[in-house]
Symmetry: C2
Subunit: 396 residues, 2 copies
């Protein structure tokens, strides 16, 4: 068991409401199973097929075979939002002293880009980096700016670098065509797989493989999540039942500091999938034990509009973790005493399998939450609003 | 002007409510001015005196004079919550390639402590580190555990290290007495200055001085905030007026990625000061432009229960920042079109002066918010709840 879930005595949802919501999901669960059986990419839900489809691991392995991965010191990931959050979550959770460093070119910041260029300046040969651009649409302003700056810099320093560039993008996007023209490596993101559901496509698989992580184990974990579909539906139902009672803030409280970026990935997943037509659950992320000294006064003493998922590792037990375990139990005890609603997710060993399992669990859960709220889990209609004005200002 | 504030056309508060709330604060403003004039540490509000009192800069300078600051490679800060968040906010905002690295021993994590020990192992002499323990009460579990581990390791490696240890604590705490016994340097935190209001005491001043930051400029900025008391009260009133309308989530949206930790500092300030007796504003932090690709769909399309403060730097203008400026304007335009309430804070050059100004602005604002909400800004009664159970488990 990768994720063990407890909620019964500590949630505020009515068992009758839970039962009704669960039953209402049955037809949709059947639909998801049909999509899984067909294995195609023709429905908005198609991202659930990614871990079962050998194509993606094959694609990224074929590209990675062109590199001597042992020589890579820096992987430069140019991409923002769904293009980098999943990779970053896994990288931050699992990196060791031996993992090549990812340089994230996400937003447009002189400080960030100068930092990246300064590190790349110190490399001795182009074998020591891979430039990995991730952008499905081809039209993300930040990604275009950063890519153009980095290509210029790297070409000036190393000469011809087309065999160090991997473009992961939608078929026929502007980047797809540029990759073909310039002879960059190219990896496809299926048209209907949106950024926040794309970590098991080449979006996440290529950089994770290049960093030395075990993508087969990651995909096994993701497949494993489907063995626990009952828990996924229950967790979705619990959050929506609380939302219906006015408890519309969802606190993802991780008791492993290295999982903070997993929280950031989850934040996008929840916010973009559910926040529309006036509805939506606000995801927040807390980290133990730091946020006991920052946020917990409010969580215990403030307005009762927050539902908390505690994620804690079963790896408690060594000298320091023993203290953390006591702190965790103290926290859960105080929540119980205060009548603040919560669930507990016991996470097994934090490795590629667990992360694949957890991320797939949350993606499927989110799709169920959207169905229960009556919103489209796969679009982000209001994001276009600021982009339009930005484009006008930039004269594009 | 360090912080310029705009809200009139984009907030949802009724001008009559604003006027009434402002008037209700008058007696309290008078009280704060009396406390400033007296310059003593006898009221819970006394932290406002710190920047005006030469004692604290003198104290930390006297201790720092015992170190050759140019030789320091690592400052190890052992402390959690209010003991490190202010220092971390300033460090992350201002650090350059030349700044000594802070190693933060905050929570109890094998991974974190092993990382710190691995870096300290590479030092050649004890001149290259300072161990800075910050803990007012002397009884924080994490701080006690981490300090004891680090003292053991450092003593084994370097022998007698008492002249490399600085203890910042309350008079007569257990750490105070340990410092006297072991001949560590000791710096006092005034009894009534709580962690989240302590950045201008030795809590923040000593590590910031040791890292090479200009603490005089920081304190000048903090003093400068009082020249803008009208804006501080207005900003407090605007947030409370929205809270009274059910808009109880406050989004601190920074358009400078290096200010994310300033947001984490602010998160503690708001949550611990206001979240009690069932009341409280939930502070969340967003970072531009990353969170446009993560959270903005929810902010624009989801439930209308969030008030946003946009903090953006006037340093826009170079090549990349020009793009950021366009994105910022696009975001603000989309918020306007959607009728989502917000304010704008234009921040001048991000340096010690601005950070001192901004942090003092927010601390005084928080005290006003608490007064308007009718809660005690200076206690954290519910934090004791989990600590009690933790202590029982640890048998202490």
């Amino acid at each position: 068991m990768s994720v063990e879930y407890k909620y019964k005595e500590t949630c505020l949802a009515d068992p009758k409401v839970i039962a009704e919501l669960l039953i209402s999901l049955d037809p949709y669960i059947k639909k998801l199973k049909d999509i899984l059986n067909a294995g195609k990419y023709e429905d908005p839900e198609c991202s659930i097929n990614l871990p079962f489809d050998p194509r993606w691991a094959n694609d990224v392995t074929t590209v990675a075979d062109n590199f001597d991965l042992r020589k890579i010191k820096h992987l430069v990931l140019v991409g923002i939002g769904g293009s980098n959050l999943g990779t970053q979550a896994i990288y931050e959770a699992l990196k060791t002293d031996l993992t090549p460093e990812i340089l994230f070119a996400d937003t447009v910041s002189e400080k960030t880009i100068n930092g990246i260029i300064s590190k790349l300046s110190q490399l001795n040969s182009k074998e020591e980096f891979v430039l990995d651009l991730v952008c499905k649409s081809g039209s993300t302003v930040e990604t275009n700016e950063n890519f153009s700056l980095l290509i210029n810099f790297l070409s000036r320093k190393f000469g011809k670098i087309n065999n160090r560039v991997v473009i992961t993008t939608g078929f026929d996007s502007s980047f797809w065509n540029e990759a073909k023209n310039k002879d960059y490596f190219v990896l496809e993101i299926p048209k209907l797989v949106g950024g926040r559901y794309s970590v098991f496509s080449p979006v996440g698989l290529f950089p994770l493989l290049a960093l030395g992580f075990d993508i087969k184990k990651l995909l096994s974990g993701a497949k494993g999540a489907f063995d626990n579909l009952d828990t996924i539906t229950t967790s979705a139902v619990i959050s929506v039942a609380h939302y219906q009672k006015g408890i519309g803030i969802h606190n993802n409280f991780f008791f492993n500091p290295s999982l903070e970026f997993l929280g950031k990935w989850q934040r996008q997943l929840t916010a973009e999938s559910l926040g529309k037509t006036g509805k939506g659950i606000l995801p927040i992320v807390s980290i133990g034990s730091m946020d006991l000294h920052s946020m917990v006064q409010l969580y215990l003493g403030g307005p009762k509009n927050i539902y908390t998922d505690f994620m804690y590792s079963e790896e408690f037990g060594e000298r320091l973790p023993k203290v953390m375990e006591a702190i965790y139990k103290g926290t859960v005890g105080a929540y119980k005493d205060a009548g603040v609603p919560f669930s507990e997710f016991a996470l097994s060993k934090i490795d590629e399998f667990l992360l694949g399992y957890y991320m797939q669990f949350r993606m499927v859960e989110t799709v169920f939450q959207a169905k229960l709220l009556g919103v489209n889990a796969f679009d982000q209609p209001n994001v276009e609003d600021y982009k339009q004005i930005t484009r006008e200002i930039l004269g594009k």
